[in-house]
Symmetry: C2
Subunit: 156 residues, 2 copies
DNA sequence: GGTAATCCCTAGTATTGCGGTGGGGAATAA
DNA sequence: TTATTCCCCACCGCAATACTAGGGATTACC
C-alpha cells in the first residue's frame, strides 16, 4: 500500500499555491524551483487540477495559477482524487464483484479502509494545512532560500 | 493511492486459513482454488508470512499451513506489512529528509495519514474479521462450491 | 506589433514493481 | 517408495509512474 508521489506532489504544489497566492498568481516555474518538482510534470498535474476546478490558470507575463476556490473549501481528498484516479483500496471499485461476480472474503474490509482514508483526507482543508506551525516554518525557510514572497509582489 | 493486491491476497489467504484451520492444515492448493489466486504467487506470499511468524508450514501429505498465532493476536496490519514492505505514505520513510535533507511541506500530513491507516488496520484482528456475518456467508458459499469443510476433515 | 513570459497540449521514454509462470528441489505421511 | 505437500529461485510481460521534449496558444509590456 502506498501513496503515489503524484498525490504528494499535487498536495505540495497546492500548498505552495495557498501560501503564496496573496502576492498574485504563482508560476509553475516557481513551484518547480522551490518544491523540487519537474516543471513539465507539474504542468500535467495542474491540467488535472484545472479539470477538477481546483485551480485556474492565468496566461501571459505575470500570470500563473490561482486557487479556484477558497482554501477552506478545498480538502486534501479533493486534490488527491483529482490527480490520482483511484483512492480505492478494493479491486472491484466497490462493486462487490471481486471474485467470479460475487464479493470476495475481504470486500467489506477494503471498503471500510477506503472510507477511513477518504474521510481522513476529506477532513483536512488546505487552509488548515497551511496554518500548521510546522508548515509555516518550512515555507518560510523555502521562501528565504529562493528569495520569494515580498519580492514577488514587487516583481509582478 | 492504492493498496496492492499483494496485501489483499495475503489477508484473503489468511482469512481462509483462519476459517478452515479447525480441520487441520490448509494447503495452498485449496486456497488457490477457492480464492482464485495463483498457487506459485501464494507460495511467495506465504514465504513472507512465514518469515514474519504469522504462519507455520507442515510438509508432506496431509500438510499445509497453520496460523502461527491465535487469530485474536494477528491483526490485518501485521499481514499487510509482512508482504507489502511499505505501508508508509511518506517518501522519506518517516525520516523527514524529503527535500534536500529537510522536511517537505507536507511531511506531517503523510505521517499522520500513515499512522491513521496503520492504526485502523492494526485495530482489526483476524478473529474479528472471520466473525463478521458477511464473511461467514461468503466463506460458506465458497466451501459449498468447492466441497470443502467437513469433507476435508475426513479426507485428511 | 513584436517580444517574452506564461499557460497549455501531446507524444514520447526509462524505470519500477506488480502479478504471474516454471521448474526443481526437500521433507514426510501412507 | 511414492505421492503430496512445502520451499526456493529465476525469469517475464505489462502497466503505471515519474519524467523529458517540443511545440503551440494567450497576453502583458514595450
Amino acid at each position: 500500500m502506498k501513496l503515489s508521489t503524484k498525490g504528494r506532489y499535487a498536495v505540495t504544489a497546492m500548498m505552495d499555491l495557498a501560501l503564496h497566492e496573496q502576492f498574485g498568481p504563482v508560476t509553475l516555474a516557481d513551484i518547480s524551483k522551490c518544491q523540487g518538482i519537474s516543471l513539465s510534470y507539474l504542468e500535467q498535474l495542474f491540467a488535472k487540477l484545472r479539470k477538477h476546478d481546483l485551480v485556474t490558470g492565468v496566461r501571459g507575463p505575470g500570470g500563473g495559477y490561482r486557487l479556484a476556490q477558497p482554501p477552506e473549501k478545498i480538502t486534501v481528498a479533493d486534490i488527491v482524487t483529482a490527480v490520482d484516479e483511484n483512492v480505492d483500496a478494493t479491486r472491484c471499485k466497490g462493486k462487490g464483484n471481486c471474485q467470479n461476480g460475487a464479493r470476495c472474503l475481504t470486500h467489506e474490509l477494503w471498503c471500510d479502509l477506503s472510507n477511513q482514508i477518504y474521510n481522513f483526507l476529506n477532513s483536512i482543508t488546505l487552509a488548515q494545512l497551511a496554518a500548521r506551525p510546522g508548515v509555516r516554518e518550512v515555507a518560510e525557510r523555502q521562501d528565504r532560500l529562493h528569495s520569494r514572497n515580498v519580492s514577488k509582489a514587487s516583481a509582478a
